[in-house]
Structure formats: C-alpha cells, structure tokens
Subunit: 500 residues, 2 copies
C-alpha cells in the first residue's frame, strides 16, 4: 500500500505541476503578454487543461484511490496522508461524474457568454445577454443533476467553492446578517456624510507603489517567494507554495484603490505562502475554500488595514509620501475618510458596511434562477427591487445593475456568497486572535504583525486544504461560520465612527 | 489519408503548445521568477518535458507517420504538408532511436556537470571538472552510436543543430576560413590600435534601453508580438510565431554590450516572427537550423548594425542620448571604435575578425575529444596551444581558457560551429541581398529597413524549418554554405578601417 500511495502522490504531483504551468501561462497573459499572442495563448492553456483533465480523471488514479480506501481509513484521520486520499478522492469523484461532452459544451457556452456579456454590459442592453444567461442557467441545472441526490439544486454549485457547505446553511446565516446590515446602514444614512474628497487628489503612481510594498513587506510578504506586478484587475496566483504572486492596479486619482487592493491580495498570498511545505505539489496545497481565502484577504485589508491602530502607525509615513495631498488632513479625518459608508452601485467599490448586501442580493437571484422561481427575463427588475430594498438606491441602468459582474457570464453561480462568508470568517478568526494574542491592537499600532501572521499560519495557513471550511472554522474558533462576530465588529467600528 | 494528416497535425499542435508552455516557464524563470521558486520551477519544467517526450515518441505518432509516408511522397515535395511529414518523421526517428534510460542518465550527468563546471570555472581548477567531462564525452559517443552508421562520430551531434550537415563539410569550410582569418588579424595586429576608450564611460541604463528600442522598432520588431526584458544573459525565446520575446543586459560602463546585444536578439526574433502563420503550432514553426538563425542575428548586429551607413544615420541620434559622453567623438572615431579588432580571451566579447577563430579551436577540440585523438586531461594544454597559434595570445588560466563556456558542461558538442557558420551564411545572404535590393547601403543610411526585412522574410523567414540549412542556403544564394563571401566582407571592411 505504501507503494500505491507513492504512486498516487507522483500522479498528483504531475497534476500539480501542470496546474502551476497553466497558472504561469495565465499570469503571463494578464501581466506581460503582447496583445497579438492572445489566440495562441488560449490554445496553449486549453492544451494543458485538456491534458490535466485527462490525467485527473484517469482510470489509473481511480484505481489507486479505490485500492487505498481501506488503508486511508486506518490512518490518523487528520494526518496528511489520510486527508490527501480523502481530498483526492472527493475531487476525482466530482470530476468523473461530469461527462466530457458536458465539459466541452459548457466551456463553449461560457466562452460565448463572456463575449456577449461584455457587449451587453457596454451597451447596457440585457436583452442581448438574456438568451446566453438562459442557456447557462439550464447548463448549471444540468450540472447540478450529475450530483443527485442533493437537498437543494444550488448545493453542488456552492460545493465547488465551499466544499461540504449547504445552501440552507448559507441562507440561515444571511437571513440574520441582512436584517442587521440593512438596519445599520439605515442608521448611518441619517448621519452627516464624511468628507473624503482628499482621497481623490492626484497621488503619483510611484509613491503609491512604494508605500504599498513597504506595508506588505512589514505584513510579512516574502519577496523571495513572490512579486507584485500591474494588471487590469488585481489578483493573486500561486505556482506552488514557493511562488505566490500578486498584482494590483493604480488609480492616480483615487488613493484607496491600489493601497487596499495591495493589502487584500497580500492577504491571499500570505495564506498560500503559509501552507506547509510537505503539502506542496499536492491537492492539499490550496486554500480550504474561497471563503477561508477571502477571510485572509479581508482581514489584512479591512480589520487590520482600515483600523485606527494601523493608521496611527502608518499615517505619518503615508503623509511623508504625500505631503501636499495629506499634510493638512488629520489622522482622524483620514481614518474616517477610508471608512466612510455610502451605499453605492458598484460591488467592488463598496465599503465594509454595505458590501455583504451586494452579495446577498446576487445570491438570492442565483438561487431563484436555479430553482426556477425567477425567470432570466425578470432578473433586471428583481435586481433593482432588491437593490432599493437593501441599499436604498436604484441602478440607473443594467450596466451598473444586473450586468455589473462577469461571474454569471462564465456560469460562476455559487461564487458570490464566498465573498460575504469570507468577511464573517475574518471576524470570527479575529475574535479568537484577540483572545490568544496579548494586546493585539497595540501590536498593530506598532506595526508588529509577526504574532498575527504567526497565529494565522499556525491555525489556518499551514493546513492548506486538509479541512473543509466549516470543519476548519469550528476547529479554530469553536463554531462553524456564524454572522455574530462580524455584526458585532461592524456595530462597534461604525458605531464609534458615526456616533450611533 | 486526409483524416490521418489532420490527426497528425493535432498531435503536433499539442506538442507545439507544450513546448511553448515549457518556454514560457523557462522565460519566466530567467526574467521574473523569485529566487525561492527555483526548485519547484525545475520540477514543473521536468514534468512538462516528460509529457512532451512521451507524446513526441508515442506509437500513435509513429503509426500515423508510417501510414502517411506514401501520401507524403505523392505531394509536391516543397509543399507544407510534404515537408511537415518529412520533418516530423525525422524528429520522431531521432527521438525514438535514443532509449529513455539514456535520456535520463544523460540529463542527470549534464545537471551534475553544470554545477561542477561552475565551481571549476570559479576556482579555475580544470581537474575538478575533468571526470565529469570524461563522462560526458563517453555519453556523447554512446549517443552517436545510436545513429550508426555514420561517416564521422561527430555527425550525429552536428545534425542536432544543423540538420543534414556533415562534419567533413564543416571542416572543409573552416580550413579555408582559418588561414584567411589568422592572416587578417596578423596584418591588423601590425597596425596602430584604435582608441575606443569612450565606449567605457558611464552610459545610464535608461538611455541605453531607449536607444536600443528605438532602433529595433525601426528594424521592424513588432511590439504587439514581442517584448524586451532584462536577464543575466541575453536570449530570444518563441512561444509560437505570434509571441517572440527578447532579453538583454545593460552594462553602464560599456556601451556596446546592450546595444549590439539588442540588435542581435532582435535579429533572432525577426526570424521567428517572420515564419508563415500557417506553419504555426507545428514543428515547421522554427528556424531552419542554428546557423541560419545566427545568420539573422549577426546580420542585424554586425553587417547592418556595425556598418558605416548605419551610424551615418544613427550616430547623431545616439549623441543626443549621450551628449556628454559622445559629443566630442566624431562619427569616424565612433565607427572605428565599435569595429576595433583586438585578439582577446573571451569569445562573447570577440570582434568580427577574431570571433570565428574562437569557434574553430573549440570545434577542433570537440572533434578530437569525440574521436579519442585528444584525451580530456590534455584539453587545457591543447586549448592554450591553439589559442596562441590562432590569436597570438595565451589564456592566463583555465577559467578564461578551456573552462570558459558552459556548453560542454551540458554536453552541447556540435553547438559551437553554428556560430561561425552563421557568420558565413549572413555574408552569403548579404551578397545576394545587395544584388536584389537597389542601393542597399543607401537604404541603411536612411534607416529604411523595410526592403531588407521584406527580402529576409520572403527568402528565409517564411519557410520556417521546411528546408535543411544547406538546402535553404543553396535555394536562396545558389551555393551551399561557403566561406568566400564572409572572407571578402572582412577584407573589405577591415581593409578600409586599418588601411591594409
């Protein structure tokens, strides 16, 4: 059996190497590639992905996993080997349940869907995209059916991003969250608006870049195993636990964009870089789930990066970079400015207090579309109605409404909730960290991030994808994902800022 | 048969895509990769190369090629399809003749060889590297034996770089060349030395970079299908005919390094970018041989880039970039400075008149080692003796002598002659271009490179690897590779510069 396990690991290493190769090609495409190479790059990535799919669903791996089933069940269930067998088996079963013809058909429809969505968004014409979205919803139902029986048609989709989590669990969490967040932003909307006009002055790119790199170096980002580049949209990519790169984009007339973007991506990268070396080149060298991943990025971006203590330390430094822009802005004004709450139309620009509401309305629409209780043609109206209900404003057009995000155009239903769940997990972890780490706020106020990163590494990062998200969160905090710590965090923070 | 041809093309496309992926990983390694990722990157590339080897030597391709043999022989022998079948068959036969165990053993020994060579070179201690070089020579003989019968043991090695070319042909060419070049540099050595001290002033990197990019843009390098980056050693890499990238290194205290390096790599890139689109993603999307490739880089670097006409146009522009360094240096002094002939120890720094002699001594040693007429232990002395004979100077130590180049440490016997052959081919092509293009020197003097690039595209680039090097050179110039045009070029150019 040892030999079979070794064989399995070799096969999984090969798959991990191919995934890394595909990721390098993808990174290069977004960061370096000359524009005339797009079509060939697409072919190169498709070739690697085809080989990956063939290898990942091979009979050889299937047989090895079957042969190792008993062996795995006799190991310590939390051991690397037992978890490797379990996670590999799960992935193998999921992949082999979906026929190749469906994979090809779905790839074709999502490719068409994305280009039609781009056009529809740019002209704010939902009717263009409607037939494609109808096809994609139908294909997603067909996909869900491969995994019958399920409790809810949305479960198999959610499971792709949050292994083991059920739709009902998310709905229960969001029901609590929605009421509280809607009430909070209503209370804030009755208060005086915070002036943040100074954030829109001209901030030269070079200084923005240098400040960002200075901060994330202090966070603990290891430049011997990473780098930062520019791209149209910020992202983090991993080529194994020893090479995790981030990108950002700089807006010279809006300071928060690159700054918090850099903190955010660094949070993702610290997670991947903290995975145990002995999990490298295996399916366990990954985050536990999208939500757990997002908990890391949001923690560094928001809980730490938008805290009073953080700016107590860093604001004088930022003023050195931008004396003419910020020399006359007080620490308190700056802190309030980067935390101003203002319901707005665009999700990616939303503040901490409104962000989850953007997510919830999307999830409710996704679920309704999958259930069939909402027709695709009625989605724009449903969007606008909910938007007004939750955020008190109505989109001017579908381009900033139902057509806003790319996700549905590639059939990515189930992706959105992970953003909000990540916020919740970040607050849960923070509550526990605050108990475990002596004077955590003092540590932030002296830019002493070592104990924080150490705690995250030891409790979250090192495990990689060994545990399912609910299992991991419970193991660390004593509870599965729950909204209360995040609600408490929001109320405390914005209660103070807005004197609620 | 059409179906089988389509099937073959699909298999070859997959191989081309994997090669491109491997090249992207290699480029990234040398240009971007954080240092801590080296080991994992090695594993990723090895995984892709293993898959490549398996696919390239698969029975499926072998059977398709056998089935297509008669079909191919009925096509126009110069058609893309006929040549594709021929070139693919050649590659398949070569690869399948070498047992996998040998490939693995050779890879291991060259990997060890390179690290030992590095140490031996840094300490100038040949005895360290001697046992490894002995092993590599023995392995190269073993390799040659897989291709028996041959006329000369060196033939199969040469054939890896110059398909179809024989050792005897190269020796015959070099015999003529050696006498002429030794006599030429002897004559030059009796003349007064040219002052080129101004080339060693401080030349800021940014201006060097901008000048280089300005020139190669004018050469016709297409930034929509390429880019230039920095790396420790300059190189060109192709990810298919739509993405061909170059790198350079900048020495702020030696102007020619980046400048001529950029012209040189651009020459390689123009070749790859000029290959017909319909050969893309096939084994024909490649240069005809290393020598033909080098003929392109050397032509742009030397015949064009070091010509009087080129600097007549560009020297005033260069002076604008470097007014304090070159403001008082005349065009004539500059032209003579960048063409100064001085026997020196280091091949990569050699001038046009001495360069080939560095190559010839290496080739003679390689052949003698392979024949067994020279023992590895005697190589340092043989090197030094020949060096004095050809160039009139003796290396101070083995680090700048027999240990100078990396090539032998990876078993790359047969590689060196392609550099000198490239020089010869560039002069042959230039002779023909000068007949075909009206007032070619006038075109250079007005930076009107379009007709030159057009001629090269039409006669050389477009064909990719359809023709073997001797076949291609003959097709274009009427003669196989011959030293006379290059000798004539050297005598004219340096006769004028040194008033011989």
């Amino acid at each position: 059996m040892k030999e079979k396990l070794t064989k399995l690991k070799e096969r999984l290493q090969e798959i991990a190497d191919l995934r890394a190769a595909s990721a390098v090609l993808g990174w290069d495409q977004l960061v370096n590639m000359p524009e005339g190479a797009a079509e060939n790059r697409g072919e190169q990535i498709a070739t690697i992905e085809n080989i990956l799919h063939t290898k990942a669903t091979s009979d050889e791996i299937g047989t090895l996993l079957d042969d190792l089933k008993d062996y795995g069940s006799q190991l310590d269930p939390d051991s690397d080997d037992a978890r490797l067998i379990k996670v590999a088996k799960r992935a193998y079963d999921k992949q082999t349940k979906v026929p190749s013809e469906f994979v090809v058909k779905f790839a074709r429809e999502t490719s068409i869907g994305q280009s039609v969505w781009e056009k529809a968004k740019s002209t704010s014409d939902f009717s263009l995209f409607q037939p494609n979205l109808e096809k994609l919803v139908a294909l997603r139902r067909e996909y869900a059916d491969f995994f019958k029986p399920w409790d809810h048609v949305f479960d198999p989709l959610l499971d792709d991003f949050e292994p083991g989590m059920k739709t009902a669990e998310v709905q229960k969490i969001f029901d609590v969250l929605r009421t509280e967040q809607v009430a909070l932003i209503k209370a804030i909307s009755e208060k005086e608006k915070i002036d943040r006009s100074f954030l829109f002055l001209n901030y030269p790119e070079k200084s923005q870049w240098e400040f960002g790199e200075e901060v994330i170096t202090q966070f603990g980002y290891d430049w011997k195993h990473g780098r930062q580049d520019k791209s149209a949209h910020p992202f983090t990519t991993s080529f194994g636990v020893n090479d995790v790169r981030i990108t950002t984009r700089v807006k010279e007339n809006y300071l928060p964009s690159a700054m918090f973007g850099t903190f955010h991506e660094c949070g993702h990268a610290l997670y991947e870089l903290g995975i145990a070396q002995n999990l490298n080149r295996s399916p366990l060298a990954d985050g536990a789930s999208m939500a757990v991943h997002e908990s890391q990025s949001r923690m560094w971006e928001n809980i730490i990066g938008r805290s009073k203590e953080f700016w107590t330390y860093y604001y004088p430094r930022l003023q050195e970079f931008f004396p003419s822009q910020l020399g006359n802005v007080s620490l308190d004004s700056f802190y309030r400015g980067v935390n101003a709450v203002e319901p707005s139309l665009i999700r990616v620009e939303a503040d901490e207090a409104t962000y989850n509401l953007h997510i919830m309305l999307r999830l409710e629409l996704e679920i309704a579309l999958m259930e069939g209780s909402l027709q695709v043609k009625d989605a724009p109206e449903a969007w606008n109605t909910k938007f007004e209900e939750y955020l008190g404003i109505v989109p001017d057009n579908d381009s900033v409404g139902v057509l806003q995000d790319v996700h549905w155009s590639f059939g990515g239903f189930g992706y959105f909730p992970t953003y909000a769940l990540g916020n919740l997990v970040s607050a849960q972890l923070w509550e526990k960290m605050s108990e475990d780490i002596n004077d955590i706020n003092g540590k932030i106020a002296s830019a002493d991030f070592g104990p924080l990163l150490g705690w995250l590494r030891e409790n979250i990062h090192i495990h990689g994808a060994k545990f399912e998200p609910q299992e991991l969160v419970k193991k660390v905090t004593g509870s599965t994902i729950t909204p209360e710590p995040f609600i408490k965090y929001l109320k405390q923070k914005f209660g103070a800022i807005y004197a609620l």
